[in-house]
């Protein structure tokens, strides 16, 4: 069944030339996620296959309002960038097995689903922010940087809500809202990093290139927090 993901990958890649095809790819991947959800009887948020599919869908969904923004409507670089981001993250989900195991009791709570879903929405927006940073470095036009700021600020809001719901889940699941594990370290680093990014912007116009770079580096920190820590370091959040 996971081979059905080849359809959104193809549509995303064609989406570099047409926003309608990108939209079709998004709908196809949403349909795949919905079918996984129906099969499992819950949100598909456990294991690398499901989380990567959820992440790539989040990237595509969050990219849509930007693709239709007046200042980005005719920018091929951004269209191709979002197409590649969504296609690549969907492609990464393919090699991993799609687990059909029942939800472990500790994860069987709305707080967990809220925590993970909000984090992926944030990661997706940080990815879009990185693309906008690259775009600004190629074409230093102020609207691109403003849109990067908007993506980062919305992503930061999602991420703050994710951390809060994660704290509530941790308190009910483990008896504490905070554990000193690599994932929590890097989650805090990511949160502090985007606080840093949002404050650097206050330094003024002379710092615009730094801000653009900040959005790009931020996505690197995001990917390490999501994939690097989960795959390389032992943590309560390991796959």
């Amino acid at each position: 069944m996971k081979l059905l993901l080849l359809l959104p990958i193809a549509l995303y890649l064609c989406g570099g030339t047409s926003r309608s095809l990108f939209l079709a790819g998004t709908l196809a991947e949403l349909a795949y996620l919905a079918s996984r959800g129906l099969e499992l009887g819950r949100l598909p948020l456990i294991g690398p296959h499901d989380t990567l599919a959820f992440f790539s869908t989040s990237c595509a969904v969050m990219a849509l309002p930007f693709l239709y923004a007046p200042s980005l409507r005719d920018v091929g670089f951004f269209r191709w960038g979002t197409a590649l981001l969504a296609a690549l993250t969907t492609l990464m989900a393919l090699p991993f097995p799609a687990f059909n195991m029942p939800m472990p009791p500790i994860l069987n709570t709305l707080w967990f689903e809220l925590h993970v879903a909000l984090a992926f929405f944030a990661y997706a927006l940080f990815g879009i922010g990185a693309l906008l940073g690259l775009l600004y470095l190629r074409r230093p036009e102020r609207p691109f940087l403003d849109l990067q700021y908007r993506a980062a600020l919305v992503g930061f809001s999602f991420f703050s809500a994710s951390m809060t719901s994660g704290g509530v889940w941790g308190y009910y699941a483990w008896g504490t809202y905070w554990l000193w594990t690599p994932k929590e370290f890097w989650t805090s680093i990511l949160w502090l990093y985007y606080s840093f990014y949002l404050h650097v912007r206050l330094k003024g116009p002379a710092w615009e290139r730094t801000v653009a770079w900040g959005g790009i580096i931020g996505f690197g920190v995001t990917m390490f927090t999501y994939l690097g820590v989960s795959l390389l370091m032992r943590s309560s959040h390991s796959f």
Binding site: M101, M103, P105, A161, Y171, Y172, G175, W186, H199
Partner: protein, 237 residues
Amino acid sequence: MRYLFRAIYTRLASLTLGLWLLGGVMLFLAIGSFLQGEGSSINEVPLFLWLREVPLRESWWLRGALLLLALLALNTVLCSIDSLSAKWQRGSFLVRIAPQAMHLGFLFIMVAHLQSASGSFKQAEQVGEGAAITFPEGSQVVFTDFNATYSKMGMPTSLSATLAYPAAGGTAMATISPNHPFFYQGHGIYLKDVAPPPTKAALVEVHKEPGAGMALAGGVLFTVANVILLARRRGRV
């Protein structure tokens, strides 16, 4: 002298200092994430006790992070005071107050961590049917039953334990399961695992987390203020 104090205040309240401190905290935490070994007891005891017990070579990164966080808290307070006094008469009230409410939420979270670092408690116990946990003032919570169901693959799909506790006019019963602890005398009783039948035993943990309420207040305040800021800045960046 007044000039000197003014210069120190300006430096402590500066955005540049705040950025350096954020960078420093991130660096220490990143180092800590790699140095933290699997066998570390950092999650088993209150943080301040852990800092007293472990050698400096294991905890220097955390001491560094705490020092910078203390300075960051001061920088946040002074920066908020400066910002409010400079912009008090200008613009929308919500736009003025939202960033400062976010700062306050951040400070709440730091206070929560301080409360937990000094007053938290954690104890794991294996309990059988009829076993009791005794609380500091002498009352007891007694475990009366345990249940576990498993999937075809052998994975637990639901776990629960029933316990009896003193209540007004006698004894009351409660059921605990993962994500549904029972709170009694300021402590939470958490079910971690239940032995497969026919054994009637379970692994439970008793926790006390004095900073939890403050952390929740800080997280909610920060997030709500963030959303307000976002809503007020819609259409302009």
